[in-house]
């Protein structure tokens, strides 16, 4: 199925869910109250003031499910322009789709403006900022529509298309364009400014080229923020100095796309190498030479290029550039694996144990190699293939304790007088004892450990050790189980499957 069609179809479906203004507004207010942002904004020169605030808001949007459409809406054109590169012949149905999408967008905007007009009298408090925000929102939407319009038209006119796709620093163009059409566009002015400051490397980003200028601004600005921030507190983790590397952030869809070829400059992924080379032409004339186009031989790194580091698009993640202790990811592959492991469903289930789930297929394959051999078991039910991993896990979590393999032999009992008088405590002792010793007769160690795992419905049991590998504990803040302070609990499950001790001991 054509990607474009699918996207636009999705868009149409989601359009009615466009965030209502009130919704947006409240969220925005909250953001404004956030002390960190307030604090931050004081550091910025006055012209940036308003814009900065908006960009913060927008960068936080993906958290809200309703806002996903926003992202999609911005991404739609990207893919379209990309496709426009490939698809030379004109597709009427696609054009129709585009046009209807534009229509929808304009309608939305209209409604929005209606709402603003309607609410104008009611909102007190900070009228100035509110007006600015509204203005900006509308400007952003309008810009997006214009870009969409141009790209749609571009598919008709080969010459236009060429300038669009090839001329990389076209953001400036858009910015100016927007500035001309909407003279009141305060946000746009702000948007242009970072570009001039952020300089050449920012403008090379495909996102900022192809996506609406709105999202482009947003990104540019975030980079700017990061740089500003880093000048103040020195990063410890990696030795890279804040200014010395460039941060790229791929969008979620791009990360999840099944690409295998990645642009070394911007990190964009492609299914086919040919497409990548085509894309490379957009990065400058040196990629247009027949040599560069002919073979994917990547030499010619004569000029010192900036080191690239990547940011995870998931807001709040430590690998996200907005995180206070941001730790960049080194390669695109890292981004892909990190995103899938940390922020995606684990859809690959191990066919052997039916317990372990993975989001990266390579992880599943690695696991399957060792599945069944996991012998290091924690009291929470998590198994580990390596002892040091188990101990790392136990060090980390309160109350977790190593589970002793069940096949361990019980110490040889005394010759005759093993059974004591059967008062209560002895019974208790006996039943408690079960989980260590008397399982031996019934089942093998591995099998029973699987049973144990199966018997608890505790999400903690499903945490794969891989999560620890990637050093991402963002997800654990929402650890659904109460903290494991009470280790009686952790022992309790071992007991649950083991109530038949007294019978057994009675037999012998």
């Amino acid at each position: 199925m054509d990607l474009k069609e699918r996207l636009s179809g999705e868009l149409q479906k989601k359009v009615p869910e466009h965030p209502s203004f009130t919704n947006f507004n409240t969220q925005h207010q909250q953001k404004w109250e956030d002390p960190s942002i307030l604090d931050y904004s004081t550091r910025i020169e006055p012209p940036f003031h308003v814009f900065n605030q908006t960009s913060q808001t927008q960068s936080s949007l993906p958290r809200n499910p309703n806002n996903q459409i926003k992202v999609l809406g911005q991404d739609g054109p990207v893919n379209e322009t990309l496709l426009a590169n490939k698809v030379q012949d004109w597709d009427p149905s696609a054009m129709l789709n585009n046009l209807s999408f534009l229509e929808q967008k304009i309608h939305q905007l209209q409604e929005l403006v209606h709402l603003i007009v309607g609410r104008r009298g009611q909102v007190l408090g900070r009228p100035d900022e509110l007006v600015a925000q509204q203005q900006q929102l509308i400007t952003a939407d309008l810009t997006s529509i214009i870009v969409q319009l141009i790209s749609t038209a571009g598919s008709l006119l080969p010459s236009v298309k060429h300038t669009l796709s090839a001329a990389s620093p076209s953001i400036g163009q858009f910015g100016q364009f927007g500035g001309v059409v909407f003279p009141s566009g305060q946000g746009l002015n702000g948007g242009v400014q970072p570009q001039s400051a952020g300089g050449s490397r920012i403008s090379e980003q495909p996102n900022s080229v192809d996506v609406s200028s709105n999202s482009g601004n947003e990104q540019n600005h975030i980079i700017e923020e990061h740089e500003l921030k880093d000048e103040e507190d020195v990063e410890e983790g990696e030795n890279l100095l804040p200014g010395t590397y460039e941060i790229l952030q791929l969008e979620k869809e791009e990360i999840l796309a099944p690409h295998t070829h990645f642009c070394t400059i911007c990190g964009k992924g492609f299914k086919r190498d040919a497409n990548l080379r085509m894309h490379m032409r957009g990065h400058g004339d040196e990629y247009k030479t027949p040599a560069a186009l002919a073979k994917p031989n990547k030499e010619s790194s004569s000029e010192p290029t900036l080191i690239k580091r990547y940011s995870c698009p998931y807001a709040g993640c430590k690998r996200n550039k907005d995180h206070k202790k941001f730790q960049p990811l080194k390669t695109i592959l890292c981004v892909k694996n990190h995103y899938k492991r940390t922020h995606c469903d684990k859809s690959y289930t191990c066919s052997r144990c039916n317990t372990k789930k993975f989001s990266v297929i390579a992880d599943l394959k690695t696991h399957e190699k060792h599945c069944g051999k996991d012998k290091w078991l924690c009291s929470c039910g998590t198994t580990f293939s390596r002892k040091d991993k188990l101990f790392g896990h136990i060090t980390l979590f309160q109350g977790h304790t190593p589970a002793i393999p069940l096949d361990e032999n019980k110490g040889s009992a005394g010759p005759s007088d093993h059974r004591g008088d059967g008062n209560q405590a002895t019974n208790k002792v006996g039943s408690m004892n079960f989980n260590f010793s008397s399982n031996v007769s019934s089942e093998g160690g591995v099998q029973s450990s699987v049973d144990v795992k199966g018997s608890i419905d505790d999400p903690a049991g499903y945490f794969s050790p891989l999560n620890f590998d990637t050093c991402n504990f963002g997800g654990f803040h929402e650890f659904p189980r109460p903290p494991f302070d009470d280790s009686e609990n952790s022992f309790a499950f071992l007991l649950s499957g083991s109530c038949n001790y007294s019978q057994k001991s009675g037999e012998d």
Binding site: D388, F391, I394, P402, N409, S412, G414, S437
Partner: protein, 666 residues
Amino acid sequence: MKKQKKECFGGFNPFDLLSEEIIFMILDLLHRNPLDKKSFSLVCKSFYATESKHRRTLKPLRQEHLPAILCRYPNITHLDLTLCSRVTDASLSIISNACTSTLRSVDFSRSRLFSTSGLLGLALNCKNLVEIDLSNGTELKDSAMAAVAEAKNLEKLWLARCKSITDLGVGCVAVGCRKLRFVCLKWCLGVGDLGVGLIAVKCKQILYLDLSYLPITNKCLSSVLKLQHLEDLVMEGCFGIDDDSLAVLKHGCKSLKSLDVSTCQNITDSGLSSLISGAEGLQQLTLAHGSPVTSSLADCLKKLSLLQSVKLDGCLITYDGLKTIGNWCLSLRELSLSKCLGVTDEGLSSVVTKHKDLRKLDITCCRKITDVSVAHITNSCNFLSSLRMESCTLVSRKAFGLIGQQCHLLEELDLTDNEIDDEGLKSISRCSKLSNLKLGICLNITDEGLIHIGRGCSKLIELDLYRCAEITDLGILAIAQGCPGLEMINIAYCKDITDRSLLSLSKCSCLKTFESRGCSRITSLGLTAIAVGCKELSKLDIKKCHNIDDAGMLPLAHFSQNLRQINLSHSSVTDVGLLSLASISCLQNITILHLKGLTPSGLAAALLACAGLRKVKLQAAFRWLLPHRLFEHLEARGCMFQWRDKVLQVELDPKCWKLQLEDPMP
């Protein structure tokens, strides 16, 4: 005791006027001899009841008695099971049911046969358990540790030689027992970096940590040194720790007071300096059998201003090293240089002249030192309380006079294998505090010198006269009369000693250890006197006392109820004598080699009758003469067999013996 009894019979009991607390305070003072309390409890019913309530510690002889004695003594806090070699799970459940919240400390270090379930019951029922000694529990597995981990209030845990436990077991303990303060993992060969690291991370209160002979590296050391309260760290024989790994440690442990890195051959001065960096409060340092002590190593210890004790046993020491130690500005209290190669008169003199506060000095086997060193030691270290100088053979007999003249505070003196003579002993008899005197293989001493000791050193507790061939009954008589507190005496191979000595020694009622190997003139009569007089006798060695026979065993069996260890080899004891010993309930070790009168069936009967046996040394021939099932049964009861197949050797004259000893040396 007798006085009290009389008053009781007089119809008026003054103890009725005393409150229980006061009687308890009186009982508190009866701690020296355990038999005193027994006598007290036997006076009358009320005394019996009072003593039952008062007793806090218990050391039962057999596990079979546990139900009865735990019922009798309800307030037991410390249970010492070292005399019970067999402690089954059933016994443990009896203990855990009887002493629920009172029990605070248990010692299983000599016990076997219990398992996880027993320990778990103990841990769950005795909530206030603070200390468990599971040393030598070679059969204990990780599951047992998981059971121990249920004792949440545990503060002291001894796991020496628990070879079967691994990181997992220690991990369970680390997670379960968060209050641990004293942990001994010596010889737990299955425990590595992960277990030790986890215990250091989880148990923040640790004060004492023994990691001797563990296969650990610096991986766990970094977390161990982060312990805020760690005062005593023992890392003897940790071969995995070397300079390279120690170099990574930038910060040491500030709270550390005592450090033992003996036998860590891969640690030199550079590694040591990073290990003790920051540990400015270090008081005790043991570097025995380590890298050579040079001036650079001595220099790196210079910064430790509170250092009191340094042990360098078995190290190679250079003159510069000793000189640098002598130049430290602090004054050591304890210095141990035993078996150090390279200790010379010059080096030792430069040390002892500076460290005038020395209390303990060990120069055992520093064979190069002469009278010069002894003169310097006695001149400057007047406060010496312990001097050990075995085999300093170049020191002449005159020098020993200086010891007695200058060091009056000596309590321990080891002169084994020295040239000391009666004049020297006369001088030493001025050390009135002397409690431990070793004169083994001092061939120049006679009764005359020993009589001086008997007159002067009334506080003598241990006396070693091994192979002092000139000693006769006269000398022993003087000791027995002058030193009533004698607890240990060794008169092995003093051939002229007869029953008269033993008769006189029987007045030393505290005698616990008596060794008279090769005294062929003593007979059963003398032994009977010892058995009757010395009720506390716990170790007896009458090897090669050919004239001791069954007649000596019978009184022994009757009176020496505390006998724990006996060596009967080469004596004339037969089946009857051996069988009679079975009535000594706490007898644990017996050595019975070359007993001519011993038959296989007699041996079998004796072995079966001695229920508490732990270790038996036997002639290898018996292995095939007795049914295999018998040994299996005995081994299941907790008894270990050692088989010997040595040919009888003719005894040599002491002087020949010494010559033979010195002969192979160049």
